[in-house]
């Protein structure tokens, strides 16, 4: 029964790759290459890699802890098998990360990652928290409200890192915190909402996209304000650099928004994801990429908005 479940999961992954739009061989090649590339980059670029790398892996495991999914598994397989399946799922995904951590001789991080992955599989949400977090964002948009509440703990952790950056006068770490916040928002902005949430607007595609872009700019500035404001206060001579990073970050968010609607109502394909990643690695390309994807989005939304 469990064997059948895992065969089914591998078939689902295969179908997702087929739907990505890339030739299937290339898609299978892309995953390990991208994994290796990101792993090397994380360890090369930051001293916090032994912490960030396991966190990155655990972030990938979050969707598997979905309550409804777990309940379905519980009903289908019973308590004991469900837990076994969940532990196996988490550990299978963790394996490549564990291998890379061992290669980096990060023993403590390896043990912590395995323990956390197992705990995530065993832990189940037994109650629903009904308290709703207030957010500082515009009242009519859902993207930033949802992102803020989903990533609240992560945002608090980034703020803590930023406080450390200010305390030890590490400007680079402060900028990293700023970018990290924008990356979290980018992750939330990249997933398409159901059609109904777009269809509802009594607006043309052009006005809709402008309204959404305005929302992204305003809310991103508000969300990152504790970081950029304190950076300006404590590193006033770096003000130009701070503004540049903030501006590029917001431009990347707009590019993500446009990419999402260029593929709407579907998820961005791997090819589109690669294009966006390439543009991010060479920010001047945003000047071409944003108008281009805006044009595609307008076309894509013309069926839903009039």
């Amino acid at each position: 029964m469990m064997k059948h479940y895992f065969i089914l999961q591998s078939q689902l992954i295969h179908r997702h790759l087929l739907a990505s739009g890339l030739p299937i061989g290339l898609a299978y090649l892309f995953i390990p290459v991208a994994f290796l590339g990101v792993s090397i980059l994380v360890f090369e670029k930051t001293e916090l890699a032994p912490i960030l790398y396991p966190v990155l892996c655990l972030t990938l495991l979050i969707p598997f802890s979905n309550q409804r999914r777990n309940e379905f598994l519980q009903i289908s397989f019973g308590d004991r098998r469900q837990q076994l399946i969940r532990i196996m799922e988490n550990l299978i995904i963790t394996i490549p990360f564990v291998i890379f951590l061992l290669y980096q001789l990060q023993w403590l991080s390896t043990i912590a990652l395995i323990a956390a992955a197992t705990a995530m599989a065993v832990w189940q949400k037994k109650y629903v928290w009904r308290f709703s977090f207030p957010t500082p964002f515009a009242r009519h948009q859902f993207e930033f409200n949802a992102a803020f509440r989903h990533s609240f703990i992560l945002l608090i952790s980034i703020m803590a890192i930023h406080v450390i950056a200010i305390t030890v006068e590490n400007f680079n770490l402060g900028i990293a915190a700023l970018l990290f916040i924008l990356v979290i928002m980018m992750q939330h902005l990249s997933h398409p909402e159901p059609e109904y949430y777009v269809w509802n607007y009594a607006s043309t595609p052009r006005l809709f996209l402008l309204q959404k872009s305005k929302m992204v700019v305003t809310n991103a500035i508000i969300l990152s304000s504790p970081i950029w404001a304190s950076l300006i206060i404590f590193f006033p001579d770096q003000i130009l650099l701070i503004i540049t990073f903030e501006a590029i970050g917001i431009a990347v968010l707009i590019a993500t928004l446009m990419s999402k609607y260029a593929a709407f109502p579907y998820e961005m394909s791997i090819a589109q994801g690669i294009a966006l990643a390439l543009v991010i690695s060479f920010p001047p390309a945003l000047l071409v990429y944003i108008p281009y994807t805006y044009h595609l989005s307008k076309k894509r939304l013309s069926n839903l908005l009039r």
């Binding site: 009242r139 949802a146 607007y201």
Partner: protein, 226 residues
């Protein structure tokens, strides 16, 4: 008024709607019935502009989608969004502001809690409240009574009557015949992607009996229950 002419919709080689012609007039409640897979939801999606189709759908005022309140069977709510934020979003999408939301909360929903934590019936009521606050001219209510408690069923019935009195056009679908016969002026039977029958109020009883005869008896005996 909504006028549908020669509406056709296919998914690949499978034809779901075939040559639909119908006019929905203001101040009337229309019921659409049909078996699962008859094409009801596809018809609603085409009318809402959520599906590409052949044929024309005209309305006055136009475009239809900007004046249409669409209640889907299984409303989706963004995770970590409160009921109140959803209502504000719905109003904002139609360039309206939400005032006096406490008094407008006729279903007494816990609007400061996350909508995803609501029960099935509460979700339906929130979605319905959202489209009512949009001041729409047309309403498509796909299974509005499903999963909703008795008191709310009565409120929904009353709302439908009030909308009718306000000269709005309401299109209802339900699998519970009594909810349609209590509310509708006309019932249209959708079968194999086309309207097979148009029944007016005086013939509702006859239609119900026909449907019972066609479905219940022989089908259940085919099961050979022991």
């Amino acid at each position: 008024m909504i006028q549908i002419e020669n509406l056709q919709k296919s998914y690949g080689s499978k034809s779901v709607l075939k040559n639909i012609n119908i006019t929905f007039e203001p101040g009337k409640v229309y019921g659409i019935v049909g078996e699962n897979g008859a094409g009801k939801t596809t018809l609603f999606r085409c009318m809402a502009g959520l599906e590409m189709h052949q044929g024309t759908i005209n309305s006055n005022p136009s475009p239809l989608k900007n004046h249409l309140g669409l209640l889907v069977t299984d409303p989706y709510f963004f995770p970590k969004i409160t009921g109140l934020e959803y209502l504000k979003f719905m109003c904002h999408a139609r360039k309206l502001s939400l005032h006096d939301w406490e008094t407008k909360n006729i279903f007494e929903l816990p609007l400061n809690e996350y909508a995803e934590t609501y029960s099935t019936g509460m979700k339906k009521k929130l979605a319905l409240l959202g489209i009512l606050l949009q001041e729409n001219h047309y309403f498509i209510l796909d299974e509005p009574f499903n999963g909703v408690d008795i008191q709310s069923n009565l409120i929904i019935t009353d709302i439908i009557h009030q909308l009718k009195a306000l000269n709005k056009t309401i299109i209802l679908s339900s699998h519970i015949f009594s909810t349609l016969s209590d509310n509708c002026d006309e019932i249209h039977v959708l079968k194999d992607g086309t309207f097979a029958q148009r029944v007016t109020k005086e013939d509702f009883k006859k239609l119900e009996l026909e449907m019972k005869e066609q479905s219940a008896g022989p089908r259940i005996s085919a099961l050979g229950l022991k």
